[in-house]
């Protein structure tokens, strides 16, 4: 690897005030033709390009990004990584991703700050308790680590949680996945971009796709703000804007795009060393390495591409946070933002071929795509390269909405979607 990052390169560059680091990826003009084009330079898109080049030896490919890489949902999520999903198909997908996360910093030679600090999901009513226990059993049958904690064990694991039985939604217990945790979201995009660039992938930023050219049922290329680019394979990884691209190709998808919000507080000293999620009151919180509380709120209940989100959604989340963590009552919130998430009716993603030859979609990740980034890229690359899905993403095909074989993670996936 050229320009390998190490303690020695760090020391060497310190002598020149860190002003001579080489650019981690290039800024090429698009060629006239590529073997494959990935639309969307977020984590999933860059990972797809990386695995296409690395595992399938497709080097003459490009990633087109309308803004800057990692500037969409990759840079807007709450960085939670876990694989404690209920159904077998989801377990296979998300745990594959988690296994890649565990060695990703080494593989990319890029510190993605993966931290297996554990993710705890709280139960607040009898049905939660039953559902979460059922999920724990399902997880363990699929080889995914999961334990049930009673109220005292929850308190022991995260002492700042208010476990008093007198609050509106008392904590009746919770599940814990110790292998779960967080990673630095920007670094994931940057690490994959650097890795892909090194293998010859063109990462083209500020290049918006305006149209998809078809000849009958075969794609021929894309119209972009930088001109027409010819290709026989297009992988769309456009998150909230997947339907916009689909409409260009004359296709309809089972998606609705909605703003999902998150917010961070002012930075404070370490106070919470894990990730705590709560489905019933819809609040989740962790603490970044900078010391900010990273808080995830819900989606607006209507279609919107505004990347803002409504105030009442944030208000509801903060009310729940304050009841669960009275210690945060005087903290100030620093920033709030929204990202546009594309939600499937069954709250599971689509990694699939379409009826149009050479057009592939990786979308529908809804409110929880970040955790799957490496697995999503790996399987999507496999699907594009072989024109066939990998056995672990076969269930996530577009045809499931016709056959009825849905992967219904709605309400089963440990957090409301």
């Amino acid at each position: 690897m050229k320009n390998k990052y190490s303690i020695f390169s760090l020391i060497k560059n310190a002598f020149s005030q860190h002003e001579n680091w080489k650019q981690a990826w290039g800024d090429p003009e698009p060629k006239r033709e590529y073997e494959a084009i990935i639309i969307g330079g977020g984590g999933h898109g860059l990972a797809t390009a990386y695995y296409l080049a690395k595992k399938h030896n497709m080097r003459n490919i490009a990633v087109l990004e309308k803004g800057w890489i990692g500037g969409g949902n990759t840079g807007r999520n709450t960085t939670i990584i876990r694989s404690n999903y209920l159904w077998d198909a989801s377990a296979g997908l998300y745990d594959h991703a988690l296994k890649i996360w565990e060695n990703l910093s080494q593989e990319l030679n890029y510190n993605i700050m993966f931290s297996q600090r554990g993710v705890m999901n709280l139960a607040h009513n009898l049905q939660d308790v039953r559902d979460l226990k059922r999920r724990t059993h399902a997880n363990r049958l699929n080889g995914i680590d999961a334990v049930w904690l009673n109220t005292n064990q929850v308190k022991e694991f995260c002492p700042i949680i208010n476990t008093s039985p007198d609050i509106r939604y008392p904590v009746l217990g919770g599940t814990l996945q110790r292998r779960a945790g967080t990673a630095r979201h920007d670094a994931v995009a940057w690490g994959y971009a650097r890795g892909a660039d090194e293998m010859g992938v063109d990462i083209i930023q500020n290049c918006e796709v305006k149209g998809i050219k078809r000849n009958g049922d075969q794609v021929e290329g894309v119209e972009t703000s930088k001109g027409f680019i010819k290709t026989k394979k297009i992988g769309v990884v456009a998150a909230g804007h997947s339907s916009v691209i689909a409409n260009m190709a004359g296709l309809k998808l089972p998606l609705e795009s909605k703003p999902l919000q998150a917010l961070v507080s002012e930075p404070v000293k370490p106070i919470i060393d894990t990730v705590v999620m709560s489905n019933a009151v819809h609040a989740y919180v962790s603490q970044s390495d900078k010391g900010e509380l990273v808080i995830g709120a819900g989606t607006d209940a209507y279609i919107s591409y505004t990347q803002r989100g409504s105030h009442d959604v944030v208000e509801g989340t903060l009310k729940a946070i304050l009841e669960l963590y009275p210690i945060f009552s005087r903290m100030k919130m620093l920033r709030q933002w929204g990202g546009i998430v594309d939600i499937c009716p069954d709250a599971s993603p689509i990694i699939s071929k379409t009826n149009i030859k050479g057009l592939y979609f990786n979308c529908g990740w809804g409110t929880g795509g970040f955790k799957a980034t490496p697995g999503s890229g790996d399987f999507f690359a496999h699907t594009i390269a072989n024109d066939e899905p990998h056995k672990l993403n076969a269930a996530f095909n577009l045809n499931r909405f016709v056959s009825g074989d849905l992967v219904d993670e709605h309400g089963a996936a440990a957090v409301a979607h």
Binding site: S243, K252, E256, S257, Y302, I303, S304, T306, V402
Partner: protein, 91 residues
Amino acid sequence: MFLINCPYCGERDQSEFSCGGEAHIVRPKQPTELSDNQWAEYLFMRKNIKGVQFERWNHAHGCRKWFNMVRDTSNDKIHAVYKMGEKPPVE
């Protein structure tokens, strides 16, 4: 978050309403005669437009009546509100 001019109650906060998604999707008269593809099209496939969209809303915490709305999903600007059964505005 925005204000919605309910055709029955007047201007109210959006949080009083619930959105029923894309409007003017007609339930097939003979579902049993549809192919799986046609049924999936009716049940799941959506335009999910970025731009001007026709959609159904319900004043859930008010008069509880359904009505239609024309809204630009790229900036949440409402162009028109009209009652169920009324013809959608052309522009």
